[in-house]
Amino acid sequence: MTEETNWRAVAAATGTGERAGAEAGVRLAYRRAGLDEPEMIVWARSPLEAVRLLSGDVPEGVTTPLPTGASVRDALRNRPLAAARERLHSGLGPAGWSGHWRATGENLWETTRPLVDRVRTGVVEALAPSDREEETRIRLLLLDAVLGQHDAAWLYALDTDTDADADTASDAGSGLDALAEVARTAGWWWPYENVAVLTERPTELHRDEAGRLDRGDGPALAYADGFALHAWRGLPVPAEFLDRLGALTPEQIRQEENAELRRVMLEFYGYERYLEESGAKPVDRDETGVLWRIELSGDEDVVMVEVVNSTPEPDGTSRTYWLRVPPTTRTAREGVAWTFGLDAEVYEPLKQT
């Protein structure tokens, strides 16, 4: 496995990690930052549970709220990362650094960042659905978190091995090796002077090929305490909404007033089935595919090209897929060309597979 594959696996890992390893990494991170190890390490099953603990919910076996002391995230995470970035930046120059970032962490961060944002939003919605002051407090707490496995892109780009090789025994290394050790076994964690709160990784993570949260029959992201997020091709949807999808009718789709949810309903129901049941006729047909239009009251028309995958499936059939195109599209060729950012006149593949 390449280093990139390894870090991608870290970012997407699910299930309980090895707690002892994570705790050893946390203790090392404190020492690397020149701090005393935390007196107490507390585990939570999700970021939501961690924020609850840090908001005064008393964990099992503890009699008073956590005596955390001040956050030490800056010393443990921000400073080592900034220093490593600075070392690379001065060694490679600005252009070299940006090339290095593109070649290493950028792609991974592009798919991890929306996940991190979704988790933050999910925690805020669960704890402070309509209280602005409470929301601010929770958002600030969330910013105290070290992202654990979700820091994979940065740890990949900043090469955590170098200082471990150079200075294995000393506690004065950069600290990135410690962060990497935690990232390999745990989710988000909160370092404070006296206490570190660690969270387990999610129990489930479902994404589509583009890396977006995506699941039609259950939570796309779920944690052991029940904290869960639902999404369809990256679009957040309520859990109850997914329950309704199984028994969907074209009439219900037409009646849905939320345009985004209606789009999900249509995709889930299947454009083909919807068109068939509503007796639609193709708008245009040529060698590139077929153009369809669905008129929706109070919303722009859904216009789609139906395209046949040129490479047959193992069973000899050819998969058909549907792509939505702008409502102004008039021909199938214009629609397919648009999906590649081209005008209809110039779209002429010599070979397709």
Binding site: E4, A210, G234, R263, L323
Partner: protein
């Protein structure tokens, strides 16, 4: 112009190649020595270029990208037939889909 699934590879005349591309830094090759044009997050399947040359990213994670293959190359994918590219410059475009108010990348 060649198409492999959701990736379109469009020949680019020598004079249409942006000046900046001639000395731009190439994207790195993957662990198997290939240029990855698009990677499936879940399956790990990739549209990948095998052969000498350079891959230059113009802007953004999803491209477009410029591909230079001075001796020709092959484009491979786990689920699509391979495509032979004659030598030259190409622009690589990912397929996109219309979403009211924006566009999103297609991932097959």
């Amino acid at each position: 112009m060649y198409r492999q699934g959701d990736v379109l590879i469009v020949p680019l005349a020598e004079h249409a190649v942006p000046e900046s591309a001639h000395d731009a830094v190439s994207e790195p090759r993957d662990g198997r020595g290939r240029f990855v044009l698009a990677l499936g997050e879940v399956t790990g399947h990739a549209h990948a270029v095998v052969g000498p040359g350079r891959l230059i990213r113009e802007a953004g994670v999803f491209g477009p990208m410029l591909l230079h293959v001075p001796e020709g190359a092959r484009v491979v994918h786990e689920e699509h037939a391979a495509i032979s590219l004659p030598k030259g410059w190409y622009r690589v475009v990912r397929q996109r889909e219309y979403v009211p108010g924006s566009v999103r990348i297609v991932a097959d």
